[in-house]
């Protein structure tokens, strides 16, 4: 049997997991399903593309790094874009979600996120058209790594970047005071206020981190596949499936579940047929909701 699906699954799964961290944080801390999360990914990819264009216009063509398809301008563009999308998520909360959250009905906030999602997507289509864009049109050769598996240098680089981001995120949540406060707030918002945690600061941190990670995932999808206004929407179901399978609020859970879903999707493509790809995430989502609603690392509501 061709084992290529394992490499493909791990790579797409790590991107799903990275996006799912934002979903799981928003859900556990702000207590609503943010359906606009996928669009933050797409905005991230386009923001990086725009910054990259500006850098290229200023400095001309820059040689790629080693065997990769991109040079340091994309690294700079990615960092700028992450800050921009983090800021955009904050703005979105200030303009829309915070006002609705204050009214205390989470279903209205969820519906508003649907609206925000459509508006953000349409704005991208309006500004950039639906024609796919690429960070680089260079063709990369996939290198054999054994067992009949081939990977491109870009794929390896993206996997490493994901590993670094996920590890940093885990350390941030477990070692930093803000991370501990975010976990405390997600467990008991009322007690969090009593112990002196500034809720507004926690909400801001959640949007900033969620937005920046969505942006990073969007850029990586852009590097490995292509940039399209609909790219975030396509990732939405797998990301939600990963957040739920991992257990809402659990970052290691979201990442592990992202890998499981990525592998299942790739296995479905190879073993059953490409048209079943999206079905894999859906089947897993349904099965988790029926068999273990709290997910792999989740804790049932007390």
């Amino acid at each position: 049997m061709n084992l290529q699906f394992i490499a493909d699954g791990l790579i797409s799964g790590s991107l799903i997991g990275l996006g799912a961290i934002g979903v799981t944080l928003t859900y556990s801390i702000l207590r609503f399903s943010n359906f606009a999360h996928g669009d933050l990914m797409a905005w991230g990819a386009y923001a990086a593309l725009t910054v990259l264009g500006a850098i290229s216009a200023l400095l001309g063509t820059v040689a790629p790094i080693g065997m990769l398809s991109f040079g340091w301008p994309l690294v700079v563009a990615a960092l700028v874009a992450m800050a921009l999308v983090g800021g955009m998520a904050l703005l979105l909360d200030w303009v829309l979600f915070a006002r609705l959250r204050a009214k205390g009905q989470s279903i209205i906030v969820v519906m508003a996120s649907f609206g925000a999602s459509m508006a953000l997507r349409s704005l991208l289509e309006f500004s950039f058209t639906s024609k796919p864009e690429y960070f680089s049109r260079a063709i990369q050769m996939a290198l054999p790594v054994g067992f009949g598996i081939r990977v491109t240098p870009d794929q390896v680089a993206m996997l490493l970047v994901t590993l670094v981001l996920v590890t940093s995120m885990h350390l941030f949540m477990s070692r930093s005071q803000t991370g501990r406060e975010m976990r405390a707030y997600s467990q008991n918002p009322a007690l969090a206020r009593v112990v002196g945690i500034d809720v507004a600061r926690i909400v801001r941190a959640t949007w900033l981190i969620g937005g920046a990670l969505a942006c990073a995932a969007g850029i990586m999808v852009g590097v490995l596949v292509q940039i399209r206004p609909l790219m975030g929407l396509d990732m939405l179901l797998p990301m939600f499936a990963a957040a739920i399978l991992g257990g809402i609020g659990s970052i290691p859970g979201a990442v592990l579940a992202g890998l499981i879903i990525g592998l299942s999707e790739a296995a479905a493509v190879q073993l059953i047929g490409a048209e079943w790809r999206a079905g894999a995430a859906f089947v897993i989502l349904m099965a988790v909701l029926l068999i273990r609603p709290a997910g792999l690392f989740g804790v049932s509501e007390r």
Binding site: R180, R183, Q187, L191
Partner: protein, 241 residues
Amino acid sequence: MTPILDVRGLVAGYEPGLNIVRGASIHANEAEIVVVLGPNGAGKSSLIKAIAGLVPVSAGQVLLDGQDITATPAHLMVRKGLAFVPQTENIFPLLTVEENLRVAGGVLARSEVSPRIDEMFSMFPDLARQRRLAAGSLSGGQRQMLAVARALIVRPRVLMLDEPSAGLSPKFVEMVFAQLSQIRRAGLTIVLVEQNAKAALAIGDRAYVLVEGREAHEGVARSLWDDPVVAELYLGHRRAS
């Protein structure tokens, strides 16, 4: 003597026009344990939560050391020197014992946090042994200890507790109350809302009986147990139990 905590004619409730606390006035002096008793629904919990900034206040004043802190947002209360231990769900179950203390220590200067955690662990050795365990795995009495340690870590002027004996076995009630007596001896002012009148009055200095959202009686804690007015107001049907 100027009281440390002075609550004057407090009116508070969750919904506008539906006040549960209806003009309550209580005060607590330095290093004093003040007990607030009252029948179910008298507004004891709401009173203490309103003081802590968790229930909207529509009239009256809360003074801490002469400073008006009425309706200060709850998360700023600890910074003002007022710590509160809610009755239930008063720890973060998925954080470790130490993380529970660290989260609360966020109010302190960074260099102070670790020494202060060590002080708490020497005060509560039971917790020190379980510092790396999830707080949710502690027994009821230990959870209450953690909640108290969590409140004390910020060196408050006043510690307010909502029914710390609720759901605890008599042995643990004794343990928790002994600890509170000891904390008071170190100079802290404690306001204690309790259903367990006998245990609370045994360690209290003064007590209030709250009826229908305002104080109906005030007296020296130990003599309140035998006060016929209080017996009629509240204690009478409790004493048989």
